[in-house]
Amino acid sequence: MYVAVKGGEAAILATHDLVAQARRGDAAVPEISVAQIREQQGLSCARVMNEGSLYDADLAALALKQAQGDVIEAAFLMRAYRTTLPRFGSSEPVDTARMAIRRRVSATYKDLPGGQVLGPTYDYTHRLFDFALMDNEGVMVGLDPTISGREGATAAGDARVKPEHDVASLDAHMPRVPDILGAEGLMEPEVPPEGDPRPFDLTREPVSFPADRDVRLQAMARGDEGFLLGLGYSVQRGFGGNHPFVGEIRVGEVSVEFIPEELGFAVDLGEITLTECQMVNQFAGSKDVAPQFTRGYGLSFGHSERKAMSMSLVDRALKCREFGEAAEYPAQQDEFVLYHSDNVEAAGFVEHLKLPHYVDFQGELELIRRIRHEREQRLAGENEALPEAAE
């Protein structure tokens, strides 16, 4: 009570100064700018935008700077800001078939209209440090360490050679793989619910269970990447019954359109970068429905394939109710997945254990001392009773 407590206000203010110092680090090292984070830590920014549920790369970079790179803290900053923003309407649905493709791969077809586009990916790099990045500013950056090791490359890296890219322009239209299967009737169709209602907004209304798919997808889109990754992995390892193929992953820019009521026609608001993953799962069928492939869907802001893939695995697992499958595993239980994937809520509740609990703890102390005391008395009484029993 009084020992640790008076002066709490001054101590709290001191923590603000200390964390500002810790954030800045050694003042001899130049301060990192928000623009540098936005441009050079783009994958972190994407994660913060996803888990913060707000598409704004500048704010994501600012959040990362302010949070010393702590992604969950940064997402928390984004959400606390987002919640104060006015909602002036809903955009038109974005059309990912019209995406300006940066990367598009399918694991189900060797080739397909539009082709395989590898784009920027770590997938084919060797995870060897490129030590040239350590101390050279302004070098032309290549991911493959063999590039900077080429003959003629100096320590300064000036002679680095930019690899020749295939500059052939991509097809303007690349059909989505599930649509190709759908044309043949082999893929479970995506049908909007009756009346095509406006999607649920779980940041404004409380969720009830069982949750519909719009709620599930929304929760996963802002859910923790690590949690969804683990759940998706559990489905693959046998804590779930799905056997998916990556029908397609595509990354690129789509335009967002909005129809202002007073105008009555769509206005282009700008572009956002999206990653979309569609998993093709093994067939389900029944007496009435012919066997067909089923779909797992993942969509995330920025370039974030791991998140989109994990989400599409769990999306399919959560559809178990629709397909009459038993919900036996964690990834199939919507309450489990939705309540526990929100890392800002989870972090808050786990970390609240740091708050004082001495009132409750005193109750436990009082109880355990009393129970032990009563037990000692009972045992002592039994020992005294023994000689009598022997007589």
Binding site: G8, F349, D360
Partner: protein
């Protein structure tokens, strides 16, 4: 409890609404509160907002307070019974910033008391509102993890599981081993989680003249006890409910009827027991009640013999992101360059001593 859209004419204040939440959100919360008051003990789902404080750190209570506070109110915030615990300070500052709230440490002077884990020792009066911060609103959650199931159990008043749990406690330990968040029956209808107050405080809820509101932000539930509502702690005829008691009185104010915290005072296992309700303890000391260790504590500077050194609502603070112009600071805390203007050296020294 008036709605206020207007902001003070201070240009340094960013466009946050009075008490942070926008008026539509407050209206939504007030509707949930009205429903909760109409059905005592029933958990009303509400569109809990994301707050600038962490989930699990009182966001439910903060939203309820933000929805009901007005300029005529006087706010008291306590955590573990004390006004100066870190999180209570943080929440009080939040309302001082966003609602220019008049704050107090005096229980009787408060119109709204936001609390975590305690009910003040001084009896509450008609017109006062208690706002409880609730981590887990569902008393059945540890018995049944699925929300879809527990809602049915409440709907059917199917509470056998809870009785069995209490019985099993008695069978194993000779008594019910729940010491806080002890389940209560409201108005003979709903089992309710009283929030993690010690069971010592449960009887204070029964027929209280004050309105009691409960906010669970992370779990998105609100529930309420209107004044003069029956609150019965669950028990059995042959194992009646009983509250905690201590063998010794408060070491500072000699109170024998208050909830005590245990303070370890050296590494030899010595300890002292002091009131958890800091205002209650101070009031009693001011009235001349003296505990056995009060002299020592004063001599060591652990207790200020005059009164509290921290003045709630002290407006000299300038290090304040809500009141100071943004963009002058470090990004982490826009007010920090103005830190030197802060006149709290005395407070810092007090903190260092203790």
């Amino acid at each position: 409890m008036n709605a206020h859209q207007t902001l003070p004419a201070d240009e340094a204040v960013p466009a946050y609404n009075y008490a942070y939440l926008d008026e539509q959100t407050k209206r939504m919360i007030r509707r949930a509160l009205l429903k909760a008051v109409a059905v005592p003990g029933y958990q009303v789902p509400f569109g809990s907002r994301e707050m600038p404080l962490a989930r699990g750190w009182g966001t439910g209570g903060i939203q309820v307070t933000a929805a009901i506070i007005g300029p005529a109110d006087t706010l008291k915030v306590i955590d573990q019974g004390a006004d100066d615990t870190t999180n209570a300070v943080s929440i009080r500052r939040f309302f001082e910033k966003t609602a220019q709230a008049r704050t107090t440490e005096a229980t009787e002077a408060a119109t709204i008391i936001q609390t975590r884990h305690r009910i003040p020792e001084a009896p509450l009066t008609a017109g006062q509102i208690m706002v409880y911060q609730v981590p887990q609103p569902e008393p059945l959650r540890k018995l049944e993890p699925r929300e879809a199931e527990t809602r049915k159990m409440h709907a059917w008043a199917e509470y056998g599981l809870m009785q069995v749990k209490l019985y099993e406690n008695i069978a194993r330990f000779g008594e019910v081993t729940t010491t806080y968040d002890y389940p209560v029956m409201i108005n003979g209808r709903y089992i309710m989680a009283p929030s993690p107050i010690p069971k010592f405080d449960n009887p204070k809820m029964h027929m209280s003249p004050a309105l009691q509101l409960f906010g669970a932000g992370r779990e998105k539930r609100i529930y309420a006890l209107p004044p003069h509502t029956s609150v019965r702690s669950l028990d059995f005829e042959d194992h009646p409910f009983r509250i905690q008691s201590w063998k010794e009185p408060c070491a500072l104010c000699a109170a024998t009827d208050s909830y005590l915290d245990e303070v370890v005072i050296d590494d030899q296992g010595s300890r002292m027991f002091v009131c958890s309700d800091s205002h209650h303890c101070e009031t009693r000391r001011a009235e001349g009640h003296r505990g056995t260790m009060l002299g020592d504590a004063t001599a060591n500077g652990l207790v200020d013999p005059s009164s509290s050194t921290v003045i709630p609502g002290d407006r000299r603070e300038t290090r304040d992101p809500f009141r100071n112009p943004a963009g002058q600071g470090s990004g982490m805390d826009p007010g920090s360059p103005l830190r030197s203007a802060r006149d709290d050296d005395a407070k810092v020294e007090t903190g260092a001593d203790s």
